[in-house]
């Protein structure tokens, strides 16, 4: 998300949205959950650069 230009990423909710669906799926096998998330496009390069600097993993 950050590398694509976003900041302030936050998952706000997760829940089982596949339970009792009409057909079976691979959802349970992979622990698939519905989620809501939000983020914001960085206001400018400075804000984005600060967010990128917080990444501790390799891209």
């Amino acid at each position: 998300m950050i590398a694509a230009g976003f900041v302030d990423f936050e998952i706000t909710w997760r829940g089982d949205v596949y339970k009792d669906a009409p057909q079976s799926s691979s959802a349970a096998k992979f622990g698939t959950m519905g989620i809501n998330f939000r983020a914001r496009k960085a206001r400018d390069d400075d804000e984005w650069a600060i967010a990128l600097a917080t990444l501790s993993c390799s891209l």
Binding site: W13, Y18, D45, L52
Partner: protein, 213 residues
Amino acid sequence: MTANIQSTLPSVSRAIEGLDVGELRRAIQEEYALVASEPEHGFHFHTGRRLAGILEYRDEWLEGVPEGTIASFAGTGNPFSVGSLHAGERVVDVGCGAGIDSLIAGKLVGPTGRVVGVDMTPEMVDKARVSARQMGAGHVDFRQGLAESLPVEDAWADVVISNGVVNLFPDKFAGLQEIARVMKPGARLQVGDILVDKAVGDKGKRDINLWKG
């Protein structure tokens, strides 16, 4: 903004090696054309009003939205629960399906706002356009297109919403970059989607049946 910093990032392909993107898109279109034409068919996901209830869509949001569009609702979350939309705002709905979230957004931003819903499945776009006409929602526009090449100008949107679609991007990074392109600086992204607790192996990532469910 993007170009300067982007050039400093390591060059890493986010595309999935060996995935037939054309076949994937055809399979997804086929599945969602069926959701448009036969929403009662029964899928590996919930649809319609039942799903809207599971995802806690408010009755006032759904009021006035044509039943055909509600019946073909197939999201996985609730983009409106993570932030408000305001009168006069411009909204892009990525993978709008039959238009439920676009039409709700149209109600929330009002006639001084604008909403563009984009979907790659013609049957869904047709259904969404019919519903917009039924609602008299002239400020809600539906366009056929891909998430990776949105038919929207640069820095147009105050808010981008999406529901159950990002997981279907063959290249998540490219799709997210494209979403960022159409957003104004500081614009909000509000998304319903899915995540998996267990990692999907390389073979699984190439399995189109797994992408479909």
